[in-house]
């Protein structure tokens, strides 16, 4: 690139999250400040009214997601952002969004936990929570960006998936990505592929699905449809039911709509996986350290591939299973005590070849640490 004066901008990851969301049409944000996600609220408060959108600071995280869901029901693309403690508080209503099938994007800029933990330190400790944090079986889509640019691009995808599948999407950032600044290209709205919800009900019913379809269409409140939304199991009209067959069908459909279309949801990145002994599985901010280690491949003589599950839930199981067949060692690098590790262990047939590098001490994992661990893995393998 020549100079960066037009559509290129230096932005913080958190800021890029807002700009991407605005580009794809987010016009409502409700939130409650918490480090390290606060800049998302702050920038939203500045930018939204400039575009005729609305920002509201609610009294806590529970009401924030609730307000965002309310706005979504009224037809406005909505977002809320938080970090660990707030993410825990939002869990109940994430389940509500899942069963009521209300599109919404929930950003979690992970910090070190549990509890208040190390509020300003990097971590990827909420990965399993993103899938299992709310009670009961429910579908989950979660996406984890690795850079400021991918934050911009992926938040757009997050909104598109949320609208298409009528489901909450978790945007799982981490402190590293959220707080760093990089130059990025702001792709303008006109050039984006934007998915808006289909407001025309199937068979005149808000929760009916067509044949071989899994996703009901969703009219906005105030557009003439006068229907009911509930967090109870419900029939096609949206009215609560205790009918076992209906409950079964609905529960299963909620899972299926993600399962069936998983190829449209899953996205991953592979680097040098064709010819390597060791495969590193990593995601989010940790990816950067792995790339840093890769930079020094010549110097260190270490050959390894990288598998980055950008869509972290549903996890790209098939691809990893395929890769794992021809690879001796897998090294999972994540900023926690082993979360995606468990999924990798499940997918990869012979667990003995799965290694792990993780930590939580307030510092980031460095390329040096990765190189050291790779050397260890290699020497054990001999």
């Amino acid at each position: 690139m020549a100079t960066n004066r037009c559509r290129f901008k230096l932005l913080q990851g958190n800021e890029a999250c807002v700009e991407g969301a605005l580009a794809v049409g987010m016009r409502f944000y409700a939130g409650y400040p918490i480090t390290p996600s606060t800049e998302i609220a702050e920038r939203s408060s500045v930018r939204l009214p400039q575009l005729g959108g609305k920002f509201i600071q609610m009294e806590d995280e529970i009401s924030s997601i609730a307000a965002a869901l309310g706005a979504s029901v009224a037809g406005v693309k909505s977002m809320t952002a938080t970090s660990g403690p707030g993410f825990s508080l939002k869990q109940e209503n994430i389940g509500y969004a899942a069963i009521a099938e209300i599109p919404i994007v929930i950003v979690d800029v992970q910090r070190s936990g549990p509890s208040t933990g190390l509020p300003t330190s990097p971590s990827q400790g909420d990965v399993m929570q993103a899938k299992w944090g709310t009670h009961g079986d429910h579908p989950t889509i979660a996406i984890s960006p690795t850079s400021v640019q991918s934050t911009y691009n992926e938040i757009i995808r997050a909104f598109n998936l949320s609208e298409r599948f009528r489901t909450p999407v978790i945007f799982l950032m981490d402190e590293v990505v959220g707080h760093m600044r990089e130059g990025i290209e702001l792709i303008p709205t006109e050039e984006l592929e934007i998915i808006d919800r289909n407001e025309k009900m199937i068979n005149g019913l808000p929760y009916a699905v067509g044949e071989r379809e899994y996703i009901p269409h969703m009219p906005s409140f105030g557009t003439g449809s006068l229907y009911n939304i509930t967090g109870l199991f419900h029939d096609d009209e949206g009215f609560p039911t205790n009918d076992n067959k209906m409950a079964h069908d609905e529960g299963l459909r909620l899972m299926k709509k993600i399962e069936v279309y998983k190829d449209d949801i899953i996205k991953y990145e592979t680097i040098d996986t064709d010819d390597c002994d060791t495969l590193i599985v990593c995601y989010g901010g940790t990816m950067r350290a792995v790339l840093g280690a890769k930079e020094r491949a010549k110097e260190t003589g270490l050959k390894f591939g990288i598998f980055n599950p950008i869509t972290i839930w549903p996890f790209p199981e098939e691809k990893l299973a395929e890769l794992s067949k021809k690879i001796k060692n897998i090294l999972v690098v994540e900023h926690n005590y082993g979360q995606i590790l468990l999924t990798v262990q499940r997918i990869v047939k012979d667990n003995s070849n799965v290694h792990f590098l993780g930590k939580i001490d307030g510092t980031t994992i460095s390329p040096d640490e990765i190189i050291k661990k790779l050397q260890e893995v290699n020497s054990n393998a001999q």
Partner: protein
């Protein structure tokens, strides 16, 4: 390792973070790849503050500075904390109130500049120390074009303070030019 790895340190409230943002923005405007980051923490309130910029022609991967090619310090405390992890032949831009040990002075290129006092006395605004240091660091490293740096400065300071800050920036650059080792 990146071409340039800058670390700015000082105490909370001195605008050290903003300094690195401006540096990053300037290099970015020149078409470089940059990553800027900082330490947060309640401690950052009154205490130590650290911010970093990585600059390269190709993509910057790892996001943290490990061995700075340039260290900018405004306080003794912050200097002492970071003085020992430097790249070979690093450039040090420090306030002249800071006591730089001999071994460090010999191993690296050190600019001891009257940043804080000039901010107070010459620019007549203690808050301009960070802009002076930005000007100085940029000149010492020849990192970004003068135009880009000026644009970056102007983009990040309150409206109405452009003149003051641009002259602070120039003052910093001048200090380097005129520096006698």
């Amino acid at each position: 390792m990146c071409k340039s790895e800058l670390r700015f340190t000082g105490s909370g409230g001195q605008g050290v973070i903003l300094g690195t943002i401006i540096m990053a923005e300037a290099a970015f405007l020149d078409g470089k790849s940059v990553v800027q980051s900082q330490s947060y923490g309640p401690e950052a309130r009154g205490g130590l503050c650290k911010a970093e910029v990585l600059v390269d022609d190709k993509a910057v991967n790892y996001t943290k500075v490990t061995k700075p090619t340039c260290l900018m310090s405004l306080t003794q405390q912050s200097f002492d904390k970071y003085k020992d992890t430097l790249a070979d032949n690093a450039v040090l831009v420090v306030d002249d109130s800071i006591n730089v040990p001999k071994n460090i002075g010999e191993a690296h290129k050190v600019y001891k500049l009257p940043i804080l006092s000039s901010a107070r006395k010459v620019i007549k605004n203690p808050m301009s120390a960070n802009i002076i240091s930005v000007g100085a660091v940029n000149a010492a490293l020849d990192l970004a074009s003068k135009e880009s740096l000026e644009d970056a400065v102007v983009a990040h300071i309150p409206k109405g303070t452009e003149k003051l800050n641009v002259s602070a920036m120039n003052l910093g650059a001048q200090m380097i030019k005129e520096y006698v080792h």
